[in-house]
Symmetry: none
């Protein structure tokens, strides 16, 4: 059982995510971080938003930093909600919208994938494809 994300596993997750993005017809930025929330690999598909480079990395960071999909963090970070303000309380690395998903091995979070470039639901679906490929590896 892997306890961390190798480059090979990260590249495989990115490739699976890329294929899903191709199917959706939306070029994406895709980032993978390891257990320490540090970047392992990144790919920007041709034509993907430049502004999403950092966002994809931050979504991956956030999903590992809080061991949950950024989609879940979004639900508790709205105005009036218990974690409202979490994104602005730190140095701008916390993403509170869909597209970041933890990578798990043996039920334990060992990294994360972050995707940005489309609509939030598309980002989440592409990240899911990456996470599934990692889980199956």
């Amino acid at each position: 059982m892997p306890t961390d994300v190798t480059l090979q596993a990260a590249v495989a997750a990115i490739e699976a995510a890329r294929q899903k993005a191709d199917k959706l017809g939306v070029p994406m930025n895709i980032a993978v971080v390891d257990a320490g929330a540090n970047l392992v690999a990144f790919a920007r598909m041709d034509g993907a938003w430049l502004g999403s480079i950092e966002i994809a990395c931050n979504k991956a960071y956030t999903a590992r930093a809080f061991d949950m999909p950024t989609k879940e963090l979004a639900k508790i970070s709205q105005p009036g909600d218990p974690a409202y303000g979490i994104a602005s309380s730190t140095q701008h690395r916390i993403a509170i919208f869909p597209g970041g998903i933890p990578l798990k091995a043996g039920g334990k979070v060992v990294g994360a994938v972050g995707v940005s470039g489309g609509k939030p639901d598309q980002d989440h679906a592409v990240a899911e494809a990456g996470a599934e490929a990692f889980g199956a590896s």
Copy 2:
């Protein structure tokens, strides 16, 4: 009557907070700042969220910076509220959600404890345990 937070007192507050977190079954990040709002001690319990390292420190900073629990600051920082925007008006050290509590000596604020790693109410409860231990010392 102490006028500042010694390392010994900070460690004692962290230990009390840690025991409370253990009871709740949630690993936490716990930070203590002194009268100058500067970090005195910090502990990340095994398995606690990586993203909460900075947040715990910022909650402690905020609770001393404004001499009130961050839970109180949260109430006046929502959209439409008088302090809305306070978190984004600075270099991102201001936390506007529960988990930061001032440390008092003789009714005067001389520091603060910040906790992050669980639900906001859990963070607040753990910080409270730390603050109580300090007040009783």
Copy 3:
């Protein structure tokens, strides 16, 4: 003649660099930016320095930002030299030591590769392998 760096070309450059790093026996961080100096792809080889993630990206940025190898920039950025201070005059993305090399197409700079993880000469040699693979593509 390509006028920009595609993901496919970036991945090929990284792969060539990775093979060179393998030969040297030093795990590296490898980044590729496009004509706009924006990140296209990144890979951290297993065991490569964590501190070099940002540095590899910054070397790639710098090599495109000034259209010269960072090794050349290093020569004019020492104390007393004409460009001394260039690294600290900005938001810290400028690398003034070897490991960043422009990617050229038809004699024109269209991107750059940045490598960090070993001795500066090793970083430069690995970046060179990446740049050569790009030039030959």
Copy 4:
């Protein structure tokens, strides 16, 4: 063999460092990071320099980020040296003077300790005491 730094091990390293600092008669800031270069524990001894809070954390970060004592990094980062500019090429987290030392388990770097508050040689000696305590645990 530990593959990462637990809170208990970090606290023990800090305690050993603190005792060494006491012997030297210099109050220190002491930080410990884990394999992912993320903060595990921190202590500021009473009267220690406020400016050294961040420096101690950055020394620990740096020692893990490059898997070498910051004292070694210092030697290759002087003007004219191969890694000159490394500290200013990133977001100010790289320390190029003594006081940061990797923590090893089974010959592998799994974290680091960073110390700041005295003369560089004192910082290094105090960090060494922390690293030795970790290695012996």
